[in-house]
Symmetry: C2
Subunit: 396 residues, 2 copies
């Protein structure tokens, strides 16, 4: 008999025992999606001098005082050779270009009407208008990004602009995947490999030569984390937990989740080991609720599931057993949550037909019709639409 641990207990243990991996140095240009291992400080003020925020004409704001529709003020457009602006002069600039001495504002190109070498100004500019002052993007020494940041495309651009060339990013976790016994045709192993990738890790299939005791396979498997698929149950033909006990330590035997209740957590020589059930639907949920957290922690990521969420009302009630976290697959139809048939709880095709899932906590017997629930979305297309930008999501 299993005495299953709650997800919260397991999460506590993982948080206490699984740390982010050490860092790799990597070039900034390809670092989007990687996780920063340490804060990054700006090496210098950026920009280092006032620059144009838009394409246009640099000039002195003082000289525009009094300009108006009935009082256009003429400026002489100077060539780009001049280091400084002369009184009454203006200089064409592209955005990002340094202002010449004597200029403190930029007239945007689309609002200016140059004629020949002259430019008429029809409205005054304030000092600093359309100018990015020195240090506005970052001051020397500013921590522009902190550890744990999942780098965005814009981060990469800013770091390159700041002159940062390499970064310390958390090494991608290597996850050994041992297929002990799988639904059929190694479906579970391939699925876990995809899930690991989604959480920032890299799966490595661990071959098990015929006749090798499972405990030896587990003990010699490479990687920062080990996931074994199949044979996690308490039955006489379930070797995983016994093998883990022989090779290392079982910490939690069984988990209070459904499906996935035979999931088992332990370690070998300090390396975390996750034993998942063989049926892919059970392995999927055991991965999402337990093993994925270990991958995300090793990867330096936040512990959240890698799915978007929405709060939506239930179209029909969900019943659930007390004492276990229930993963109820659902469809999102007309902004309502339709649970899929309970009779199909153990089929894998439910996870394929579902738009996402609802988690019913251990202490709950379910949710009533109309209750608002959190849906974890497999499919981005079930996101809440933006009424102000319907063209973004319009189906052609």
């Amino acid at each position: 008999m299993l005495t299953p641990a709650s997800c919260e207990q397991i999460a506590d243990w993982l948080d206490a025992n699984v740390e982010a991996l050490p860092c790799d140095e990597t070039a900034v240009a390809g670092a989007a999606g990687r996780v920063l291992g340490a804060a990054v400080a700006a090496p210098a003020d950026h920009p280092d001098t006032a620059v144009a925020a838009v394409d246009g004409f640099a000039l002195s704001a003082d000289a525009t005082v009094g300009a108006g529709d009935y009082n256009p003020l003429p400026f002489r457009v100077a060539g780009s050779g001049d280091p400084a602006l002369r009184p009454g002069g203006a200089r064409a600039l592209v955005s990002g270009e340094a202002l010449p001495r004597g200029a403190d504002a930029v007239m945007p190109l689309e609002e200016a009407e140059p004629r020949g070498g002259m430019l008429d100004i029809y409205a005054p500019l304030a000092p600093g208008e359309n100018v990015i002052p020195p240090g506005r993007e970052a001051r020397a020494g500013d921590h522009v990004l902190g550890p744990g940041r999942v780098l965005r495309a814009a981060d990469v651009a800013l770091l390159i602009e700041l002159g940062v060339e390499t970064l310390n990013v958390v090494r991608r976790p290597r996850v050994g995947i041992v297929v002990v016994r799988d639904g059929t045709r190694n479906a579970g192993g391939a699925m876990i490999d995809s899930l690991v990738l989604q959480d920032g890790g890299v799966g490595e299939n661990v071959e098990r030569p015929p006749g090798e005791p499972l405990s030896r396979t587990l003990a010699r498997a490479p990687g920062d984390l080990l996931i074994a698929v199949g044979g996690s149950g308490p039955g006489p033909n379930d070797p995983s937990a016994g093998a883990l006990e022989q090779a290392g330590e079982v910490v939690f035997r069984g988990a209070a989740i459904n499906p996935g209740e035979t999931a088992t957590v332990g370690r070998i020589d300090g390396k975390p080991v996750m034993l998942l059930p063989g049926p892919p639907i059970a392995a999927l949920f055991a991965y999402d609720s337990i093993a994925g957290r270990a991958v995300r922690r090793l990867a330096g990521r936040s512990t959240e599931l890698p799915y978007g969420t929405r709060r939506l009302p239930l179209a029909r009630k969900i019943a659930s057993g007390l004492g276990r976290l229930e993963c109820c697959r659902v469809r999102v139809i007309d902004d309502c949550v339709e649970p899929l048939a309970v009779a199909d709880n153990r089929t894998l095709s439910t996870a394929v037909r579902a738009d996402g899932f609802v988690l019913v906590p251990e202490q709950s017997e379910g949710y009533a019709e109309g209750a608002e629930v959190t849906v974890y979305l497999y499919d981005q297309r079930c996101r809440q639409p933006d009424p102000g930008a319907a063209w973004l999501t319009r189906k052609p």
Copy 2:
């Protein structure tokens, strides 16, 4: 002077002129994240026979009639060699295993109390209980997945279970990236490369030898789509639009977006070409609102932005100019939306400090304090939390 096109006009044109690329054949095992090019039909019923949904004991439901706490019914546990169940017999099975002839229900392992070679049953089972009947996952010929599906880990597992080995997936778009003139240090080019990857494409830097006319670079650039960064403005030093006109066709000169108003759309020999502004903050938004749609359409994906969304109230009003789509970078604080300072609209660091952005449509002058707006989230950690599973998102 630019006569900018609206995002909706540009979206219409892209939807009419940019199609999903032809398919590549790929192995199922590594296909998660790829986009299906055609429907996939189940080659056969799956499962092909009734199988156990859980680990346990297969038996005949009829023989359990009358079982109760005060009337345990004994069953003899048969070895796995028997092709059929004898009357009064039970057979240990793991989930996914075929039921023997004569069995039509499975007693879960954790509810059974075997003693010696016997098993006592304390409650009746219904026929079909804990059994997955043949064809329940899929019937031969069923379209289990349709074209356009972004393959999930569970899809991969189901397809492998069904015996599908290869798939037709939409080829990844190759996107030539020409850096015409960039903010500084090629920040924009590296950023666009990351954004293209996020939308399912692969960026290729197109080198431009010194002295090569830009029109020739554009004309000879490889790939399914061409993105040029910088020089898209109307100024005398902005070569992009002229070069595009020479090499092919300008369709939309300028876009009603801010920042990013000089973005220009055209084509060369049928290949779509996107000219983006040089300043990375303008290139970022021009990519998101225009160029990314072309990448996603080529990739066979839905047109949505690759960001999660939430509807949240504004902590302060957002003002916006009529006639252009405004990208207002925001932070999400205590489930309220805080716009970042308008004065910093043209700085790249706003996109780094922001948790996401709000789009103010062309026909709107902004949103009042307290108005509910859609936030596109750069950061998954700003998702709506699940009150039923706080342990998932708990910060250790």
